[in-house]
């Protein structure tokens, strides 16, 4: 449902225009289209539902404030807002507030196991097990860099592998993903 194609691009252009005009319906549509995708990523990063809800709201505020900065140059609308949501979530887990209140607390109980199910949900036909179709070592580098917000050297240290290996794994991981999702090779 988020795939490319000129039709979707046309719809997207229309939506972008509405967002620029700060049109309420446009933002409602953005929320309806992408809310669950953004929420899923945020939840994966911050791990706690109440925090994830705040971060989703903050992300929408940021999107609202920066629609003028968006252009087709920056990728698709979805990849652009995804980036905003991810960065807002990463900023959150690095914040003092989060560290004090959640990081050291026994959060397992509060964490959601909803996502364990969503991974195996099948509304993306054919991509159902995209995550599992990556080798664990490739899932791992994505986990550390994208979802934990580690730098390459932090990831190398945490995984006890050389920096070069982190780079290689990242490269192969993305190449594999492109193959699996049918994004053409460069």
């Amino acid at each position: 449902m988020y795939l490319t194609g000129s039709k979707i691009q046309a719809q997207e252009a229309e939506l972008v225009e509405r967002l620029r005009q700060k049109d309420r319906k446009g933002f409602a549509q953005l929320y309806d289209n992408y809310g669950s995708a953004l929420y899923g990523v945020i939840l994966k990063i911050v791990k706690i539902e109440e925090v994830a809800q705040d971060v989703l709201q903050d992300s929408f505020v940021k999107i609202w404030k920066s629609t003028d900065l968006y252009s087709r140059d920056k990728g698709t609308l979805f990849t652009w807002i995804l980036n905003i949501a991810r960065n807002t979530a990463i900023d959150k887990i690095r914040s003092q507030d989060y560290k004090q209140n959640y990081q050291n607390a026994p959060i397992e109980a509060k964490q959601v196991d909803k996502q364990a199910n969503t991974q195996t949900k099948t509304d993306h036909i054919g991509l159902k097990s995209l995550i599992e179709r990556l080798l664990p070592e490739h899932q791992e580098v994505i986990e550390y860099l994208y979802f934990k917000g580690f730098t390459q050297s932090e990831a190398a240290e945490a995984l006890a592998i050389p920096l070069g290996t982190v780079k290689t794994r990242v490269k192969i991981a993305l190449r594999e993903l492109r193959k699996l999702t049918g994004v053409p090779e460069g």
Binding site: S6, A10, F27, Q57, V61, W64, T151, L177, T181, V183
Partner: protein, 273 residues
């Protein structure tokens, strides 16, 4: 700047995962402006990653939608006068004497609307077609590039071989497939003055992983290593081997990568001088 090497370096993938320094990020974004190949790579990687993270999608609680939208409304209120704070006054206009014109105006505007929708559709369709054509051209362009690279490689190989052959001192020895490998064929050029040996592989089975072909020069009972055959990027290049002073027979065997001091593996081709 070597764009291909830059793309191959893996920095784009790290960038897409949000794991580059701010300097690297700035540099990359600037390069993306200059080089469409880089921009395209970034987009493709972003897209694949987006598909991946979508797998984690999760429905937020229903009440959050209103909360978020309300928050945006508040932002709006902070700006200018949105939504309008005072209730607009409704003024009932007296029906003017020209009221007869309204039905016509309405009809005219509906007609204009229909025409405009028609044009919208036509433009949209044209635009879509143009988009498809552009995509096709991009694919075609990429294929042509691949072909061009292949041709360049072939041309360089041929040129190298011509240069060797042009030398009067060059002796050509055809190494032919032995019993189990009748189709194997390798041409060996031996420069009788400089003693340089070059190989051109005509047909050899692709070496299995961890194995490499090795050339041997044989003079009487003396068998000497004459170098390893390099199979790179699924391609046999014209290879310069070790210089050979004296030989009556040349042969190629399949050995462990790196080669052996004396032949241990199966022989594929052999040729007499």
């Amino acid at each position: 700047m070597d764009i291909k090497a830059y793309i191959e370096s893996g920095i784009i993938e790290c960038y897409v995962l949000g794991a580059v320094s701010s300097e690297e990020k700035a540099e990359l974004e600037q390069l993306a402006e200059q080089y469409p190949e880089i921009k395209q790579e970034i987009e493709a990687n972003k897209f694949a990653l987006a598909e991946y993270v979508l797998q984690y999608h999760c429905e937020p609680p229903a009440e959050l939608r209103d909360k978020v939208l309300q928050k945006l409304d508040e932002l709006h209120e902070g700006e200018e006068d949105y939504p309008p704070k005072s209730q607009p006054k409704v003024i009932v206009l007296p029906r003017s004497r020209r009221a007869w014109i309204y039905p016509y105006l309405t009809a005219a505007s509906i007609i204009l609307l229909v025409i405009s929708v028609g044009f919208d559709y036509l433009f949209y369709r044209d635009w879509q077609e143009a988009e498809t054509r552009l995509m096709n051209l991009a694919t075609e362009n990429e294929q042509l590039h691949k072909q061009l690279r292949q041709m360049q490689t072939n041309y360089q190989d041929a040129l190298a071989e011509v240069n060797i052959l042009a030398n009067k001192a060059t002796k050509t020895i055809e190494l032919k497939g032995v019993s189990n490998y009748p189709n194997a064929a390798v041409t060996l050029y031996w420069n009788t003055q400089s003693k340089d040996v070059h190989l051109v592989v005509r047909n050899l089975p692709t070496p299995p992983k961890g194995m490499q072909y090795q050339l041997w020069s044989i003079e009487g009972n003396k068998v000497e290593d004459a170098g390893m055959l390099a199979y790179e990027n699924n391609h046999w290049q014209v290879m310069k081997m070790k210089t050979v002073q004296k030989a009556t027979v040349f042969a190629i065997t399949l050995e462990k990568s790196g080669g052996e001091a004396t032949p241990k593996g199966a022989m594929y081709v052999k040729g007499e001088v």
